[in-house]
Amino acid sequence: MTLTMTLRTEAQLNLVAETASDLMVPNPISLRAEASAAEAMRLFTEEGITAAPVIDESGRPVGVISRSDLLIHKCVEQKQHDGEYFREASIESVDDVPKPMIPMTVQELMTPAVFAVSEDTPVSRVVSDMVGLRVHRLFVVAEDGILVGIITTMDVLKHLLPDD
């Protein structure tokens, strides 16, 4: 038996969806955990996005990385770079040569928290989870844990609009 639920509203305002799979945007643009910060920034710029899920090699979500995370990293990197520059100016022996900076990976910069629902989660539960957890996006995962979609608060509002 299929679980089908809807939220009762007036006729003019319905949440026209039954499960998480109806609300989600499928196959979201994702980043591999081992991708570099530069690769992430390039993807954000090319795709015009401000955040992306981070997945492991099997496609399971392991975190979220945002443009803010990358910009903060950029600030830190700039400080380190300038610090090395000033240190280099006072080098007295070859042993004091600064070590090159190692590029950071997405996994090191992301927020390692995953809020996920399954594809058949009722919309009522999706909404109550977003409100209860105070998060603006939920991952949707298949039975094997593979990321299959994302639901944002905007996706819920999209389905709440009057059904003319």
Partner: protein, 183 residues
């Protein structure tokens, strides 16, 4: 937000808005605004002029734009523990403290009256791609509250659930918080 059992369609902005709002004077520095927002635990707020009228909105996105517009200048005297850990910390020590809120706020904010229906609020958020709308006295443009997309979802969550099938199977949804590294 008022606790109400009224039908969703009958709810207005005044019913679901947050009345406790932080307001930022347009002349305030970005650093001052960052401290104000951090202290209040919010990610955006209306910007007001000297008459108390809402003339803009300052959000985390605006702060990130300010960072992009002004590349960080390292200060060798600052220790590594002063590195930024969140968006609000970026302006501090990295930017010219003379930068004002008015230079980076989003102008022409979306304002609505307190009687605006919830469906209209949702549509406006979708059309303008924004997560919050300022509720204001439309005669004076003075802010009365803020409605966020989360406030609308909270109103939806309060609506009764009506199963279409009498005996639905009970699938426990796969919901949880997993911390990477815990596996």
């Amino acid at each position: 937000m008022e606790n109400t059992n009224r039908p969703l369609i009958s709810l207005r902005a005044a019913d679901i808005m947050s009345r406790s709002i932080v307001m930022i004077p347009r002349e305030m520095s970005l650093q001052g605004a960052a401290r104000l927002l951090t202290g209040a635990g919010v990610t955006g707020a209306p910007v007001i002029d000297d008459q108390g009228r809402c003339i803009g909105v300052l959000s985390a996105t605006d702060f990130m734009h300010s960072v992009e517009a002004h590349q960080p200048h390292a200060n060798p005297s600052r220790s590594s523990d002063s590195m930024p850990h969140c968006a609000w910390q970026i302006p501090e020590g990295n930017m010219n403290s003379c930068l004002c809120v008015a230079d980076f706020m989003t102008i022409d904010p979306v304002l609505v009256g307190p009687a605006t229906p919830i469906g209209e609020l949702a549509r406006m958020m979708m059309d303008a791609h924004i997560h919050r709308i300022i509720v204001a006295d439309m005669a004076t443009h003075r802010p009365l509250g803020i409605v966020s997309s989360m406030d609308i979802l909270a109103a939806v969550a309060r609506v009764d659930e009506v199963p279409r099938i009498d005996e639905p199977e009970c699938h426990e949804p796969h919901v949880g918080v997993f911390m990477a590294g815990a596996f």
